[in-house]
Symmetry: C2
Subunit: 371 residues, 2 copies
C-alpha cells in the first residue's frame, strides 16, 4: 500500500469500500472448511470481487482456481497469476474468440463454457492457431432460465460434437441456477437446487452411458452450497458472494427460519454527512456509491433508527428523526450495501481494515471488465 | 487512440459505450447557442461525462469552465487542464479541505460551495496555508430539498460570515433544484424552477441591499435551461445531461406535450447476444452495464418489439417474440440507457463514432471519482 496514504478508518476519503479482514477471513475459512470436509473442489467466483488479492486469499485457503464472468475479467486474473480460470459465460464473436485462444495459450488450464453448436465449431477452428497446440477445455453450460442448453439429450449431443473435434476437449458440465441461490426460505431453496442439480447429474449419467467421460460438474452459490456439497454428482462449487455478503443474502433465510447467518457481512461503504438540516442528514453516497438493483436501500451500521433514501447520483438522504445518537456534519456513517457484486464494481479499490487500522489497499483490478 | 484497436462499430468488444459524434456536436451547439443568445454564462456539469475530452469540446463551444460533483472529480479535470472548475457539493473533513486548498493553489479560479458556518471557518483556516495566498472562492449553496442553506436571511448571514474572513471570498449563490429538472409536464417544470430560482434571485437582492455584491448565481439543468436562461437574475447555467441524454430525460415532456426533443440521444450501450433459446435472447449487459435506478429498462434501438428484462449482474433477457427482425447468436444490439450519469460511471472509456467508424476513444478519467 502507499506509505503516505491514510492509516486509519477515520481518515479515508469517502465514499469508500471497507473490508473487515477478520470477518472476511472467517467467511473464507467457513466455506473452504465445509467443502474440504465434503471432498468438493472449490473454484470461487471472481465476479463478486474482481480483485486478484481476494482470489489469492482464496487460493491460500485451498481454492483450485477462480471463476470469471467474462473474458476480460479472466484476462486480469491471469495477468495476476491466478490459475484454474473458468469463464462462466460463452465467448461469442470473432474478436473475443481470438483473445480466448490467446488466453488459453498462456494459461492452458483455463476452461470455457458453450451452449451452441456453431460456437463450438468457431472455437475449434480458432484453437487450431493455439501456440501450444493444446485443445481448448470446454464445459457444456446447462440452461436453468438464462444461458445454456437444455439438460439431457441436447447437452449430450453438444458434448459429442466437442468430442468429435480435434482442437477442443469436453471437460464436463456447468450447472448454474441463479434463481436457486436466492430462493426463500431454506427448505424451498434446498428443493429447488436439488431439482436443477439433479438434472445436471442425470445429464452426466447420460453422457457416461454414451461413452463420454464427464469429470467435472460445477455450479452452486453462496445460497445453495450446503445442499450442493452433499450432492454426490457435483464435483466442484463456484460460490462468490460469501466472501463479503450483503443485505439481500441476509434475507434468504437460514435453517432456523431466521436471517441467513452462515457468513458475516465483511464489506461496508463508508460515507460522510455533507449537509445537515432539521431531521435530515445528506451523505455523500448515492447511485454512484451503491448499486440500486434491489428493492431496498442501504442499511446503516453502528447507528439505529436511521432510514436511507436515494437522493440522486451522489447523495443519500437520511431521515435521522429517530436516530439512536446525534448525527452531525462531518460524521462518518457506514452502510451495508443491498447487493454486493455491482456495488464493488463501482470502486477502484478496497480498503482492508484490521479493527480501525488500514492494513492494505487492494486494487479492484477487473472493475468494469464486463467484456 | 490505440492504433491497433478496432476501427469499426461492429468490431468493438461489448458491452461498451458508443457516442454518436454528430448528435453530440448538435447537442452542444444547441445548448451553447441558446445560452449565448441570452447572454448567460455556460458552466456545464462534468458529473454526467467525467471525461476531460467532453469538457474540452464544451470549452471549444464557449463554456467558461466545468462543474464537478466532487473534489476528486475536479482534481481529474484540473489535471487535464480544464479551467473554471466549480465543485457543487460542500467539501467536508480535514483531509478533503487540505486537498481543496491544494487544488485552489494550482487552479486559483476554482470555486467551492458551502452551507455551514463551521465549514466556512474551517476552509478559511486551511486557506491560510494556500501557497499563492489568494482567498478561496466560495458560493453559498441554497437548499431546495437536498444540500444547502435556507434561502433568504440565513444565506445572507452565511455570506456575511464569508465576507468577514480573510482567506475566503464570497462570489455568489448556487441554486440547484434537482427535482425541478425532472418535473413533468413542461408547464409545471417552468413553474417549479421559476419558484425556486425566484428565491435565489430574492436572496441576491437581499445581499445587495445588505451591501454585499453577488456577481454570480449559478444553477439550472437540461430540463430547466429554457426557463432559467430567461430569468434575468441567473448569471450562469450548469446543465449536464444534454450532451448525451437518456430515456428518462426523454419522458419529461416538451412544450407540445410530447417527448422532450431539445436534444438527441447520442450515447448508447452496445451488447451482444450470447445465448439464444425459443422466444428469448440473452445479451451481455446487466446491472454492471446499465444503472438500474430508474423504474424502466433499457430500450433497444434499431429493432422494434424487443423487451429488455434484467437478468442479473452481467445479463439482460430479451423477449424477442415480437421482434421486428431475426435475433441470432452473436447479433449486436444497442440500447438507450434509462439514466445516463450513473451508466457512464460504469465504463472506462467512450468509443467515439462518426457513422460506423471509430474516430477516437475517450477515457472516462474521473470514473469512480465520487470522493
Amino acid at each position: 500500500m502507499h506509505s503516505n496514504g491514510p492509516r486509519l478508518r477515520a481518515d479515508l476519503p469517502t465514499p469508500a469500500l471497507l473490508l473487515d479482514l477478520h470477518a472476511f477471513e472467517d467467511n473464507i475459512a467457513v466455506m473452504a472448511g465445509h467443502l474440504k470436509a465434503r471432498n468438493k473442489a472449490f473454484r470461487p467466483h471472481g465476479k463478486t470481487h474482481k480483485c486478484p488479492e481476494v482470489a489469492k486469499a482464496l487460493l491460500r485457503a485451498g481454492a483450485i482456481g477462480c471463476c470469471a464472468a467474462r473474458l476480460s475479467e479472466a484476462e486480469v486474473f491471469a495477468a495476476s497469476g491466478i490459475p484454474g480460470l473458468l469463464i462462466t459465460t460463452a465467448v461469442i464473436s470473432k474478436g473475443k474468440i481470438a483473445r480466448a485462444v490467446a488466453l488459453a495459450a498462456s494459461a492452458p488450464d483455463t476452461m470455457f463454457v458453450v451452449d451452441d453448436r456453431q460456437n463450438v465449431r468457431d472455437l475449434n477452428e480458432a484453437a487450431a492457431a493455439n501456440a501450444n497446440r493444446e485443445p481448448l477445455n470446454l464445459l457444456v453450460d446447462l440452461n436453468f432460465g438464462r444461458t445454456g442448453i437444455t439438460p439431457g439429450q441436447p447437452a449430450v449431443e453438444l458434448a459429442q460434437l466437442i468430442d468429435s473435434l480435434p482442437n477442443v476437449t469436453f471437460r464436463g458440465l456447468q450447472s448454474y441456477d441463479g434463481a436457486a441461490a436466492h430462493t426463500t426460505p431454506f427448505d424451498a431453496r434446498a428443493a429447488r437446487t436439488a431439482m436443477t442439480m439433479g438434472k445436471a447429474v442425470e445429464t452426466k449419467q447420460l453422457l457416461e452411458r454414451a461413452g463420454l467421460a464427464c469429470p467435472l460438474v460445477t455450479g452452486g452459490s453462496t445460497g445453495t452450497y450446503r445442499f450442493d456439497s452433499d450432492n454426490p454428482g457435483i464435483t466442484e462449487l463456484q460460490p462468490g458472494s460469501f466472501v463479503f455478503m450483503d443485505m439481500e443474502y441476509g434475507t434468504i433465510g437460514g435453517p432456523d427460519g431466521n436471517e441467513y447467518r452462515d457468513f458475516q457481512n465483511s464489506l461496508t461503504v463508508v460515507t460522510t454527512v455533507v449537509s445537515r438540516s432539521p431531521g435530515m442528514a445528506i451523505v455523500d453516497g448515492g447511485y454512484k456509491a451503491f448499486s440500486t438493483d434491489r428493492p431496498f436501500t442501504p442499511r446503516a451500521v453502528g447507528i439505529d433508527g436511521v432510514v436511507f433514501h436515494w437522493a440522486g447520483d451522489e447523495h443519500g438522504r437520511l431521515d435521522v428523526t429517530n436516530a439512536s445518537r446525534d448525527v452531525r456534519l462531518g460524521d462518518r456513517i457506514e452502510f451495508l450495501p443491498p447487493h454486493i457484486d455491482p456495488t464493488v464494481n463501482l470502486y477502484d479499490s478496497i480498503y482492508v481494515l484490521r479493527g480501525d487500522r488500514v492494513e492494505d489497499i487492494w486494487p479492484i483490478a477487473a472493475r468494469g471488465k464486463s467484456q
